[in-house]
Symmetry: C2
């Protein structure tokens, strides 16, 4: 019986879970059934820890300080497990303890079994989820998203959709991930730097100079139309020339008064997301083109991605739930089951 | 007889030509046969003019001031033409006088006939070359490069290669232009924002964090190998996923110790140039795939592009000559011939 399981058998009814990224820290208090009892967040990401000192001992002490400050009162309650789960950059080489990437194929159980523990003091162990790596000519890595995938799979099971067969799961964002899951096993994933490239182009490139400071309200029909125009241009024969070529049209459609400064923002967003979906489809093996598709994230972003997918004859369901906390809970459960 | 031609007939034996861009101004004194007699340059681009004041009258005076300071002594010589040619951003809406884009198809004669004149005082007229625009779903524009193309065509004629048939002319750089010329007529062009995207990604994105400050020396075999790896990955099946996906491998090949921090710079450069060539070829109509190809620019950059083209089964000649000054001369000659 693992220490994790022993903790549960000792009258534990609540757990602490941490989503610890580069720029933010979120802490959850979860019930024995995974319900969120309390949640806290601040900017103590691994690059914004409280305290000072960058040697290994100081860094470690600062992680512990942040941890106890955000979750100490929860852990002072006797029914809180002494075993805490965490995911994200806290497990990177710059984190509290490195939880090395594990190679594909991977499952939720496999992730739970590969967590790395750090002693936080006062009898508390923090178990950190590993990232995933896919080796190859163009290797791919994720850290944090593996926990979101565990959460999505748990959600799909719970929602009655099941995780059998092929699921293509999209996590759009700064670095979008598209993950292929077959019968509950992560077999492949791709990264698209869509969000970061959009931010660079709109803020720092010549394209930003003719853009308005702010885009239109998302509900404005002009915003939707400009976005749609971008998607369609990416999907068209013009899109064959690739992103380096099509993005220049954000500027020239402004010069020719076809797009206002505010519309250019939505247009460029549509172009980039359109190229992402186009690239995703171009890279899919035939048997994956009939996979079920889920897009996970904030409602507004999911909506944009589904619009882009429809133009490319692909339908998707959206999962708006916070996949990370559900994934952290799935890792706790998997550790318990594994131990039991 | 045009005033231009009258000037020549009045014993004129030398001409002033200006390459006036956003951040720099270059002035040439040319002989009656187009030889460069003298050249000067400084940072008085249209965004760095001497003097102050941003209203229209002040701007105009500042342009005149810069012009007379850089070329006044040349114009004081009695055998210098009072008719000066200029190209570049000096003809933009923010320039000395706007020389509106003219639509395709376009020729050197057509460019010469569409120049816009501004009175510089003291009996001197500055004739500014127009830019080019190609209308369509994704419009395209150039300003300055049209003069380079005129220069390349003049060079090809002079070198005995001729301008008959189809020429595909590449002007790599911040915004690469690829121009289709058929029997001396510019019929189509594309823009690829390769240089600007490379600068943004290497300086401001997550990819830059694992890169060295400086790349390897261009003659280092490791530099060439890393660049070649980028080109090949862009051309491969992995490249089907598009730039947003492949660029992430610059980071992951660093994480997996396959590329050093310095090699990542050459690798990313190869990836981007590879995607540019791939996109160019994907957009070419079949009859253009057998066109003769010329790449114009600095030797090092031309070499990189030719390497990328060879991987894609395309051969090109390089033109290292300063195409702009030759183009300015071609515009002077065309104006004279037209008037004669």
């Amino acid at each position: 019986m693992s220490s994790f399981c022993r903790a549960v058998s000792d009258g534990v009814t609540q757990f602490v879970a941490l989503d610890w990224g580069t720029s933010s820290l979120r802490a959850y208090l979860l019930s024995a059934s995974g319900a969120i009892l309390d949640v806290r967040g601040n900017d103590w990401g691994i690059m914004g820890l409280p305290g000072s000192g960058d040697d290994a001992a100081s860094r470690s002490a600062r992680f512990a300080q942040a941890f106890w400050q955000i979750a100490g009162d929860w852990l002072a309650q006797p029914n809180t497990s002494r075993h805490v789960v965490a995911c994200g950059m806290v497990g990177s080489a710059q984190g509290w303890r490195e939880a090395a990437y594990i190679p594909l194929p991977a499952t939720t159980d496999g992730l739970a079994g590969s967590m790395v523990s750090v002693d936080a003091g006062n009898g508390v162990q923090v178990h950190i989820a590993p990232g995933l790596i896919e080796h190859g000519e163009l290797p791919n890595v994720m850290r944090g998203e593996e926990t979101q995938i565990a959460g999505v799979l748990s959600h799909l099971e719970h929602a009655g959709l099941g995780t059998g067969g092929r699921w293509l799961i999209g996590l759009p964002g700064t670095h979008s991930k598209w993950v292929q899951v077959e019968d509950g096993v992560i077999v492949h994933f791709d990264t698209f730097m869509t969000g970061e490239v959009f931010a660079l182009l709109s803020r720092h490139s010549v394209l930003g100079r003719s853009m308005a400071e702010q885009g239109l309200d998302a509900s404005d029909p002009d915003a939707r139309q400009a976005f749609d125009r971008g998607i369609r241009n990416a999907a068209s024969l013009h899109g064959d020339r690739g992103l380096l070529s099509t993005i220049f049209s954000s500027r020239t459609l402004g010069l020719t008064h076809a797009l206002s400064g505010a519309e250019q923002i939505d247009y460029l967003s549509g172009l980039l997301i359109g190229h992402e979906i186009r690239g995703l489809l171009a890279g899919l093996a035939p048997e994956w083109r009939t996979a079920r598709v889920a897009v996970v994230g904030r409602a507004h972003l999911c909506q944009r991605y589904r619009q882009a997918m429809l133009v490319n004859d692909l339908d998707a369901i959206s999962v708006y739930e916070d996949a990370t906390v559900r994934g952290l809970w799935a890792l706790i459960s998997a550790q318990e089951q594994h131990a039991g």
